[in-house]
Symmetry: D4
Subunit: 221 residues, 8 copies
Amino acid sequence: MTVDAVLDLERRERIGLTEAILCPGKTTKQITDICASVNTERQPLLLTRLSPEAFEALPKDLRASLDYDDLSATAILGKLPPAKGPARIAIVTAGTSDLEAAREAARTLACYGEAVTEIADVGVAGLWRILKRVDDLRAHPVVIVVAGMDGALPSVVGGLVSSAVIAVPKSTGYGAAQKGETALRSALSSCAPGVLVVNIDNGYGAACAALRILGARARSG
Amino acid sequence: MTVDAVLDLERRERIGLTEAILCPGKTTKQITDICASVNTERQPLLLTRLSPEAFEALPKDLRASLDYDDLSATAILGKLPPAKGPARIAIVTAGTSDLEAAREAARTLACYGEAVTEIADVGVAGLWRILKRVDDLRAHPVVIVVAGMDGALPSVVGGLVSSAVIAVPKSTGYGAAQKGETALRSALSSCAPGVLVVNIDNGYGAACAALRILGARARSG
Amino acid sequence: MTVDAVLDLERRERIGLTEAILCPGKTTKQITDICASVNTERQPLLLTRLSPEAFEALPKDLRASLDYDDLSATAILGKLPPAKGPARIAIVTAGTSDLEAAREAARTLACYGEAVTEIADVGVAGLWRILKRVDDLRAHPVVIVVAGMDGALPSVVGGLVSSAVIAVPKSTGYGAAQKGETALRSALSSCAPGVLVVNIDNGYGAACAALRILGARARSG
Amino acid sequence: MTVDAVLDLERRERIGLTEAILCPGKTTKQITDICASVNTERQPLLLTRLSPEAFEALPKDLRASLDYDDLSATAILGKLPPAKGPARIAIVTAGTSDLEAAREAARTLACYGEAVTEIADVGVAGLWRILKRVDDLRAHPVVIVVAGMDGALPSVVGGLVSSAVIAVPKSTGYGAAQKGETALRSALSSCAPGVLVVNIDNGYGAACAALRILGARARSG
Amino acid sequence: MTVDAVLDLERRERIGLTEAILCPGKTTKQITDICASVNTERQPLLLTRLSPEAFEALPKDLRASLDYDDLSATAILGKLPPAKGPARIAIVTAGTSDLEAAREAARTLACYGEAVTEIADVGVAGLWRILKRVDDLRAHPVVIVVAGMDGALPSVVGGLVSSAVIAVPKSTGYGAAQKGETALRSALSSCAPGVLVVNIDNGYGAACAALRILGARARSG
Amino acid sequence: MTVDAVLDLERRERIGLTEAILCPGKTTKQITDICASVNTERQPLLLTRLSPEAFEALPKDLRASLDYDDLSATAILGKLPPAKGPARIAIVTAGTSDLEAAREAARTLACYGEAVTEIADVGVAGLWRILKRVDDLRAHPVVIVVAGMDGALPSVVGGLVSSAVIAVPKSTGYGAAQKGETALRSALSSCAPGVLVVNIDNGYGAACAALRILGARARSG
Amino acid sequence: MTVDAVLDLERRERIGLTEAILCPGKTTKQITDICASVNTERQPLLLTRLSPEAFEALPKDLRASLDYDDLSATAILGKLPPAKGPARIAIVTAGTSDLEAAREAARTLACYGEAVTEIADVGVAGLWRILKRVDDLRAHPVVIVVAGMDGALPSVVGGLVSSAVIAVPKSTGYGAAQKGETALRSALSSCAPGVLVVNIDNGYGAACAALRILGARARSG
Amino acid sequence: MTVDAVLDLERRERIGLTEAILCPGKTTKQITDICASVNTERQPLLLTRLSPEAFEALPKDLRASLDYDDLSATAILGKLPPAKGPARIAIVTAGTSDLEAAREAARTLACYGEAVTEIADVGVAGLWRILKRVDDLRAHPVVIVVAGMDGALPSVVGGLVSSAVIAVPKSTGYGAAQKGETALRSALSSCAPGVLVVNIDNGYGAACAALRILGARARSG
């Protein structure tokens, strides 16, 4: 039985993004091998969904070289690039439990030198909180909105700003919230026109999409 | 084969509400027979989901004695009671296609002498519209909120007023809106505490619940 | 990366309810910090879905100041207000495993000085049990009905009383009960008019809704 | 291309039931050919779900020889056997729109000489209606319960009688009723022990099951 | 807060079945208290879904008085009645993992003095196995068929015997088997007429239904 | 706005199959244009799901050149190749309403010169029918099994023959059959090893798969 | 009963997009009234999902002033602005039936002066078709990909270009395609990082998102 | 209570495949007993889904005689037959986490002397990886494609080769990937004609199907 593993090393040239390592489903050895094989000089390597237990299981020296963040369960191997300038991306969260995905998005963007503005705890049950931040929001060409439960926040934000709005449904809540499925469907059915959606809890995907959008700028400006 | 049909004539004494006729699944003859058998002196009879085609199929003289409204697909047999006083119930709608259920609720309440205030076209994509009406909303002890698609409006209203809030999910939208299922789940998962929910498109049920709430007042005040 | 957390401190003024802390998805430190930051003089702070393990993980002095109940997995920080008078809310349960949500509702109401009457073990498989309590039920303007599996009890209660009826579907049962989904859909499809529904296992939400309803009474009386 | 159609003519010998014709998905010609090929001397042939339009499309002479009932959309070819004695099967319905499936069951049973007692309009929203009929119900060894929407009636009946109880979920209702799916799941999750369930709207299946049960009686008595 | 627990002690008189204790969702103390309060002289008490861990957590003397079976996760308190005669119920299983529910059914029936014939490992992938047992099957007026995965066995059995056939879908399999949901739907859609269905894994319910059916015999014979 | 339509003309060279035209979602003009543009000398063109109404709407001369079959709703443009030899593919159907998909498969195969043996009406409720045909079935290296409702037939066939077995779930049945979804899941969960599955009603896909399998034979023999 | 309709006239100032009219659920009169009330001097009015039947029901003079396109079921009232320059948005479709949503997107963009490049019939079953267009695709900062059935195309495109990729799942296909639900979930689960998704068939939403993205560019360049 | 277990020992003669042991749902003792009872001289015994914990729980001497592989969670008892010749089956995987099912398939095939070619890490996000291997793929008459998340790979492969293509959906991914359900539906809805599908994660089933296909070859060649 021959296995021919082929890393997609030219991905950055092709689509402007390097491959990140989604850790669940990979063994400790597989993660360790990948970390050893990647050249992080030009671009740090991001590991996502690396649970504290999985992190602890890694070899000690690898752990020492990783920048690990347990809130987002991400690790970064290699040096972050300097920030390119003021934040062009705002990350809005409805409640405390939305911070995980927000942080995953922020850490992904940091790998590409993008600063972010985080605007937290602005769920629609206390509407005045988001209304106080509208001018701030409008100053960012891309707004990532993380929201679970009813998923009402992306629609509200989408009606307040002309920026590109990316909804990250969050698997917060219970029962009818169906592990983020309700927030996902709510964002897809948004009454605000042009709200974009990524997978449940997918802060990484939202960040990649933001990079595509801002990268698009350079080429079409 | 013997059929023993038993009308629940004492329902009003027991629960304060008379039986309405849900027309789908009933033949023209069955509807006609029921209308002939009910005494509407003390209380008009409400027929719900009576499509224009089903209405046209009824005998001419019955049609003449019915107050038919095609927007809500309801008909009323018998005289409406006078309004009991100023509106204690507000009915809020997100968009034009939510008016069907709103009207069904309003017509049900009219059968019991309850006036309503309708506040239309205040979907969250244009948030300032609902914000301008907050004081008005707060003046009503019961607020019925009809919303389809993302179903974000009940959460917003639930965060603005202390009134009893009843969400009526509406089968508006397509695809991920899943014929009202998304709006239903969104209302059930509301981040605003204490939002109550009835079945999709069920303006009649929301009205009955409002009557229970207001009736509760009299006994417990 | 800047995080701007904004507590919704004016919520009580706006909607008559203070914010409760839904514990899952929050770290021990976050829960501890919130407890330290809240002024419970006017109103105790309620923590919901705080598992015994999560409770044990809290600092010893915080644990000492919390009134913890493991049946409902709730904790209360601060002094409960005196009961306002005789119970205006009845909480009906079908079986033993429904007591969790019933207790969550009762504890939420206690935070606002509302006494409750609990009527337990009256599932419809032994119908005479609920029938013996009808007069008692009718004396309460609000009836909360907790039921899992087939979710038949809210319909039965809704047909017996004119009170506001709030169904709390319970994630009891297995297989076709689908973790409360069947009880939820059953309550939403109730043949008794005007039955209101909250999310699966959401005793807290039912209590908040009951408070809105009783509050509505005061203002509209 | 060769087609080898094989009728299951020995089914009655094997399982005590003859094959009925489920009409949807069959062409007018196919239905006509089957009717021509079946010997109905010993046992009439039942056609189910034969819509009025499909019935009208049949050849005139076939129509003349069919006993067609539009409420249940069934037709019977051949002479019904005489009733074997007093009704051993009760058919209980919650509301008017449940009569379709009830009639389908009754007509199927008639093909085997079984009389039935129909007890209609006894939905749980008016509980006293079913309570008045308990003694009557108990006199029947098999009780078929047809109910849509919340599907609460089978649980109530199952708690009142020791008879075999067969629930027929009905596709009545809208929204959360999900075309009978909620009534189906509710019956399967019944809190009354030993409630049996057949497919949505399947009055024919309930009747066949009742015949199996009564046949079991004869052999094992 | 007052809790009024009401045991349904007269259930046996009413429906011929005593209440069994479904253990999940009940605390060790609640189970212990119930066992202490029930009089098992006339009828043993059955506890279902009592996991080995939950059994071990019970007080030592209670454990000593229980007849515990870990395959079916059931315990019986009190003396089993003598068998009433030869087996009238056959329990058929498709594979090894179906034995859990089969044993739960057999143990329930033993509480009422009903012997059973178990016919195991006769899944349809090796059709000759069930065909060899047809005469044996036909000798039993009630046949319980436990099957997971594709759930094909109830249809095959339903086409071979005239007995009452009760399908118990089993949560065997993975992926598209959806924890028994596929076997459940398959049994409900059976092409064999009159197959009856209970909830997934519900051996207890199938046994209760069999008792109702056989009980029906006595009264209507 | 420029549209660049690109027909996949080299598909036959690449995968041994030409493109068929799935008619729903295409206008009469689009279908007509495609028929005009395709060279059918080497290979006839197959149109699938062409309803009688859609067929009648085509231009008269196109209709005249099409070989239309209303049972399978397929049309063939161009001359069928001669059959390559005796049937290597058997198509088994459970009931009359499965013939549509069976015929679609047979017509697709005819476009490639493959004869088929159709074995109809062998549903598992009358098991002896399929058992009589086992030797015949075993003589075919590929067996396509079309079955709706409970979808039990593919498992039975898969346990009887060593041939490649392709299940075509059929959208026959109602309620719990869920438009073929149950038959689909049942086939995917088959207890017979190595049963292959295509989409619901997809006789065309089953035929293409059979061609791939038989083609595989030639190359690897 | 008072209805207060409030048009969201300032939406363009707030979010850069004017309100479009989603026609289903609106009466002919409502559509006519809206058309009469809107000033289209600065910006044409777009009507979406206006079926040919609904279009024909409009008053003759309104019809004359509308630019109606039946493929996309859209109508435009008012003069289109001149194109702003070469196409910055590519619209890629997998097959003929994806053209509806593609055209809806293109027409929406035309209302804002954005030209598009349509690249049709490049489904992944004939991979060379999309590969030939990669350079062309890469020249567009935004790529909209419309695909139904398996929804594989967005992942392929997302792996080929660095542009912002917006997937529009299409309700093409049958059975397991579940009216676009499979294509929707497939796009959300894309293995290509940063693919953005809008609702099923929502060409309008994809166009609005593209406008937000291009607008973002201008402000943040 | 008598249990009559019947092993399907003649399965190999009937369908060319021996029975494998699906371990979940079986006790350590049951697995041990089966291993002791099977004669593996002619054919090794395969145990699937045997977790490392379940393997460790087996008796030491049984463990010593098993060839255990933790990646695929399979064990083989008995000697593998020699490979029959060069690989006729290719197994293609999209990513690292797809290797589990691929290895299960390869190990199953090894039990029958079939060599395989594994082609790993060729997900469609880096399309050039699969394109480089097309000639290699085409050399195999059967191609098994394992893919999770969006499940796009089977469609791409199905469009590139004329071989029989068997898709194994993998339960990789999160949220909208729904534990393999999306990959399953995507493969069933493939735009490439004739793609065959087995259950989620069912590498064993894919291997059995491949054996049926290759066996078909011998008989029909």
